[in-house]
């Protein structure tokens, strides 16, 4: 698989690092954002091939990131959202805004890699 650019928006630094390590091992290039604001900057500046975003983040939420990508930037880049238990309503909103897939926390990083590769194929 070609080297793909992925923006990862996640406020838990340990999880970010873990996923970065795992996805880089798969040959992808990871751009990390610790909040939604930074994620939007990275998306605008780097035009990633895929976006991974948490829903609950400081400053700008994952839902706003999806909305920005779909409505303002008008790109169809695949988006996977992470959600915690009890955020089912948020997940539905994420899908209605244009998210392609979601993973409920806690999730297995190996499963995430499979989903990422499937969306990038």
């Amino acid at each position: 698989m070609n080297k793909c650019k992925i923006v990862l928006a996640e406020d838990n630094s340990t999880l970010s690092l873990l996923l970065k390590f795992r996805l880089e091992r798969e040959g992808h290039e990871l751009l990390m954002a610790k909040d939604g604001k930074m994620a939007i900057e990275l998306i605008e500046n780097h035009s990633p091939d895929l976006i991974l975003t948490d829903i609950m983040m400081p400053f700008i939420s994952g839902l706003e990131v999806i909305s920005h990508v779909r409505n303002k930037l008008e790109t169809q880049v695949p988006i996977i959202v992470f959600s915690s238990a009890g955020q089912e309503e948020m997940v539905l909103k994420a899908f209605s805004l244009g998210a392609n897939d979601f993973m409920g926390k806690p999730f297995s990083p190996n499963e995430l890699v499979i989903r990422v590769n499937r969306l990038l194929a």
Partner: protein, 397 residues
């Protein structure tokens, strides 16, 4: 010199009040300067502390990720002193011990070296806190093999020992936190200590202990209800139910002993379980509870029996209707709304003019559902012969 002498003489000649104000101003200035220096010192200390935390956090995060992705497994014998020491301190079920033994055998040299580094770091309380917070947060985010590896790291670095020691701390907040930690890392071996906290005087400790049991032992963990003397708050009950619903295996154990508990909150919780898990086979126990001394339990039993289609209970309640409290009567009419049959019509008609408006309303609605013609007749009665409910439902056919 003469200037100083002049100032001293001038000061001496000043009125007492001016002298006092001057002294106070001088003291205040000294205090402000002192406090400013002190606050600056504190701020510097806090900043340094925060920077240290960030530095250690990023160091430990890297170590953790390395540990979780260290592929270089070895088959050979590994040093297990730390694990054996830990095993000596607490009793571990043989199955759990074998499982952990196998996991530890699989540890690579890199993983062992990380464990040894973290073990040393964990000796310092502040660093230990950082390590625990990283592991704790990550446990909330990842599952599967990765969470098993985090658990191994938690045990092997000796963090488990600190948590087990903290359970016996006299301060409730530390006790509650340690139980929460053991629950998060799924340390079943701590349950002998946790069981002792089931009836703790502090409700937070109790709550953590209850959640620990359910989180780790699923429905079997509910056995603590058999002995529970302290009240199980509504919030605790909701949290326990929420955890139970997460499990794949929804096979519930026998809830009858809890319905017979002397603790009313346990009985109410048992009733919630009976309703959620459709316990049709316990109808007899529920009928016995209709004569419970607590009114709220009796009302709740009627609601559960309604859900479980307790027709036998319906007949009993109908026969004793006048002896029931108003709340029970209302609950019974809600039951009738669901379980009504045509032969109930005379009973319903009898209560069309009940003193309680809600019962009147329910009776009228039930009558409408089983005999619409009779309802039409009632609807045509003159206004002065109608009940409040009839006036409310006027012309709603």
């Amino acid at each position: 010199m003469t200037t100083y002498q002049y100032l001293i003489d001038y000061y001496r000649e000043l009125p007492f009040l001016i002298k006092l104000i001057g002294a106070l101003i001088t003291l205040s200035v000294i205090l402000i300067i002192g406090l400013t220096i002190y606050l600056k010192g504190i701020r510097r200390y806090q900043r340094k502390k925060h920077a240290d935390i960030l530095k250690f956090k990023s160091e430990y995060e890297v170590m953790l990720v390395e540990f979780l992705y260290a592929d270089d497994h070895i088959e050979n014998e590994v040093e297990k002193n730390s694990f054996n020491e830990w095993l000596e301190q607490i009793e571990v079920e043989p199955a759990i011990q074998d499982e952990l033994d196998d996991t530890i055998k699989d540890l690579s040299p890199i993983q062992q070296s990380i464990i040894s580094k973290l073990r040393k770091e964990a000796l310092v309380k502040s660093k230990r806190k950082i390590i625990i917070s990283i592991l704790y947060k990550l446990m909330e985010e990842v599952s599967g093999e990765m969470s098993d590896s985090i658990k191994v790291l938690y045990i092997e670095t000796g963090l488990i020992d600190y948590a087990l020691k903290k359970i016996n701390n006299t301060e409730w907040s530390i006790k509650a936190k340690s139980i929460g930690e053991l629950s998060r890392f799924e340390v079943k071996e701590g349950h002998y200590e946790v069981v002792k906290c089931m009836d703790h005087s502090n409700k937070e400790v109790r709550k953590e202990a209850h959640l620990y049991m359910v989180n780790l032992f699923q429905f079997d963990g509910l056995y603590f209800l058999n002995e529970l003397k302290t009240p199980l708050s509504e919030w605790d009950q909701i949290q326990i139910l929420e955890i139970l619903q997460r499990f794949d295996d929804q096979q519930i154990c026998d809830i009858r002993p809890w319905l017979k508990s002397t603790n009313d909150t346990v009985v109410l919780f048992g009733l919630k379980l009976a309703q959620i898990y459709n316990q049709y086979e316990i109808n007899d126990t529920l009928i016995e509870l209709l004569s419970h001394k607590s009114k709220s339990i009796r009302v709740c039993v009627i609601e559960v029996l309604t859900h479980l289609y307790g027709l036998e209970a319906k007949d009993m309640l109908k026969a004793n209707f006048n002896e029931l409290s108003l709340e029970e009567q209302l609950s019974f009419f809600t039951m009738l709304e669901k379980l009504v049959i045509p032969s109930d019509e005379p009973f319903i008609e009898k209560h069309l003019f009940h003193k309680d408006f809600e019962i009147q309303l329910l009776a009228l609605k039930i009558l409408k559902s089983i005999n619409e013609d009779k309802y039409k007749v009632l609807n045509n009665l003159p206004a002065d012969q109608k009940s409040k409910a009839m006036l409310q439902l006027e012309n709603t056919i």
